[in-house]
Assembly symmetry: C2
Homo-oligomer: 551 residues x 2
Amino acid sequence: MKKSPLQRVRSEYQPKLPKALQGPVKVKIGEATESVADQEEIKKLFPHTYGMPIVQFEASNEPEHVEEPFNVGIILSGGQAPGGHNVVSGIFDGLKRLNKENRLYGFLMGPSGFIKHQYMELTAGYIKEYRNTGGFDIIGSGRTKLETPEQFEEGLKILKELNIKALVIIGGDDSNTNAAVLAEYYQNIGAGVQVIGVPKTIDGDLKNKWIETSFGFDTACKVYSEVIGNIQRDCNSAKKYYHFVKLMGRSASHIALECALETQPNVCLISEEVLAKRMTLDNIVSYLCYVISERAKLGWNFGTVLVPEGLIEFIPSMKDLISELNDVLAAHSNEFEGLDEMDKLRAIHAKLSPTNADLFKSLPKHIALQLSLDRDSHGNVQVSLIETESLLSEMVKKRLEEMRENGQYSGKFNAQHHFFGYEGRCADPTNFDADYTYALGFNAAMLINAGLTGYMSSVRNLTEKSEYWIAGGIPITMMMNMEKRHGHMKPVIQKALVNLNGKPYLKFASMRETLALNTLYQYPGPIQYFGPAEVCDRPSMTLLLEHDKEV
Amino acid sequence: MKKSPLQRVRSEYQPKLPKALQGPVKVKIGEATESVADQEEIKKLFPHTYGMPIVQFEASNEPEHVEEPFNVGIILSGGQAPGGHNVVSGIFDGLKRLNKENRLYGFLMGPSGFIKHQYMELTAGYIKEYRNTGGFDIIGSGRTKLETPEQFEEGLKILKELNIKALVIIGGDDSNTNAAVLAEYYQNIGAGVQVIGVPKTIDGDLKNKWIETSFGFDTACKVYSEVIGNIQRDCNSAKKYYHFVKLMGRSASHIALECALETQPNVCLISEEVLAKRMTLDNIVSYLCYVISERAKLGWNFGTVLVPEGLIEFIPSMKDLISELNDVLAAHSNEFEGLDEMDKLRAIHAKLSPTNADLFKSLPKHIALQLSLDRDSHGNVQVSLIETESLLSEMVKKRLEEMRENGQYSGKFNAQHHFFGYEGRCADPTNFDADYTYALGFNAAMLINAGLTGYMSSVRNLTEKSEYWIAGGIPITMMMNMEKRHGHMKPVIQKALVNLNGKPYLKFASMRETLALNTLYQYPGPIQYFGPAEVCDRPSMTLLLEHDKEV
């Protein structure tokens, strides 16, 4: 692999560690914990790993106690997030500091490599090639869910074969939930294997009091903000387009919100607000048309609109429509076969309840087709394939024409569409994410050495300089509650949606009207690695605001 | 305007000037010139500005001669390109060095501001806000063409009113052609106004022996290469998608080629090659399917394909089809009115010649509709609206299914689509573009002071350190030839398409097979401003290769 000039220089970057991890550590044990809700049920489901204490590492004057050399396995689970490679190198360096004989194995292409016994040993020379780089290509990732005893037993075989003492699972909320289940399982059967989770997801929805942010969120949002800023500068130079920008983030709108705080677009839709206010598609279109027509009065026929990817599933009426469509398509699929597009749409329309039929009819044809065609293997519509950004712009265009006929609008409306997701998931990590992930990995090695299982690697106090970061472990069961999944109540880590009483949202909401009716774009520019700290090391606005910092 | 942390630091950057421009200059006059072709016709059309010498500035020990304070006007013409603001600040600083009383006026929103007398004075405090930033928002840009005597006369009124001695037009090949026509016109009527052009376009197609590159190309390509690199890292981590990336650049494929050299995708199509080899759409689809099926044999069902925006107009058979469609739609538009989509396609199909009818029928329906619906005000299809990236991926998908039935393919094919254009046109300029544009602007001020008109600002030797850059002026007529435009022969600056015998293309062609059947992606990462020179100051690969430099 030939490296780019930036990569060559960047590979020499030494990520900063919290003071406590810079030398030997001692373990400070906290109080016993409880889950955030449904304590009785969760305690019953996790008899061996429930109620464990929070632990924190402190600098020690004595070397760590290491019984004998041990081996560790790692799995990268789910979607890519910037910094994954530094988690791996952090674990590696932590293990080697404990004992040069310790070994690290990577399971290939996610949990499936664990089950199928596909792995490689990660050596110093191999890891060197991946330090401070984006991507999960060091061992690959995958979406296989690790949840059945059969899988756990299959995996245990290779763990035993490789003499692995602990497994580190780097993943989002679901993967960490499964890590807790696996930890409990191995504890229950006395397998002698620890399981440690590491909080990853660009979506930013794996966070709570103890996990201040998931890794990758910072970098991904900065890449998206860079290109949104560039588009806004173009928008404000050409003054002739409305740019509709859809942003990855299927359930939560953290990414859209962070990008809005960074770039100050004219509009940013927040799914959680749409749901809380029970807004309809019509409400959203009306709001957009209000902003566009008011800006037109000021002579501005241009603007920017950020749209979270998961929006339409948060619009209650759309959710109802999609749900009925799922049923209708499942029940009548053979009747629709062979029909041409228009006939199919008419046939579906005829089967819908009156409210949903009206909504279905109001949609642009290609969107109605997307909703009618694409089902995943579970029979659900694949929302990521719905072009929400063009759905909105087309409905806005139509409404504006009606307004024009009524004399309420006399501007020009031309739209451009963008979707940013893959552009940010594998970017080279910012200094923040490079340091954070390296610390998370290094810390995971210390958790293993402390003999812990069912813990998530936790590095906190992230708005301070990295030397003051607090490193330790949180029992995963502590973050759990019971939720319905596929019709059954299951113990899961609570997902953090955008908090409508939280500072990031409130900050945005306080600016919203001003941003809509002015042109106050900000242009964050590209991620910098070598400049002054205020440019290179600044964490996300979301994190700063959540911790009452100035932004 | 609240600035981002990067912008605050970056605004302090002092662009580097060639040694010759760092103090007083003297003018070195070269030999008389000739146009690149059609000398007789062009001489006849430009009796006052044809044959002028190339000039070059050299450092002088004596202060420049400046008669008395003078005023200058500027116009930003056409699409945005990174660095436009530094051209403005370079002119400003150049004028102020000559005489503190000199003034600079900007015409608003492109040539239309000149004709409509909309302008503002550009003062030190205002310009300060825009130094080293992307965008053309300092005065706005526009696409009005400056080509009629009525416009020239209308503009002259405001020039006289503001006592403007020279007009600087910052634009692409067409705008610079018009600058030459305007220079000749004002010279002919003795208007006493000089006209100077500055070579701008991200497309990279305004270049020749004297203009080594147009400004903005470097930055735009680096932004696109950053996000393409990120996508490639994702592609190589997830190993499940083919990413089709369409890149801006309507006529030439310089952007796609530069990005291919920077990122090493599996495939990059080059329009100029398609034209030269008279490739059909079928040829292109076959090549893509060859690469995809060969990669599938290696177990790789993922890859990246770069597609230049203007591709389909370079496919001879598609060009024929589009041309006939233009005629058919113009002649029969009323017959097609009110028909539904399928009927319209059938009706159009029936009117096409047999070859074009077959090709039309082979296209995915939504592409056929795009080709049938969208006409610009001149009755031409708007090629930028054709989703070439999905046209290709859909035809590939279909072909692969046929190959599967014949046992020639047994992989998986899933595509993602991207289009990058607006993301790069207004990015903050790289150090290269920041320096180059500042030098072009500063140099333009010196050309004005030298009393020249009909010249393009030329800064050369760009692969060397900026102090060794050569600054001067080139008569625009020198770059001209006669070409047919809208049915008439006109004098125009020769557009530089990708040279299939040039080093950049040959370098790519030499790697092409290897890149297709391996996974050798490069990840350039984000533009850096503060790091080591090899990271921050490196010009484009195209420029380096064209000047026989190592890459």
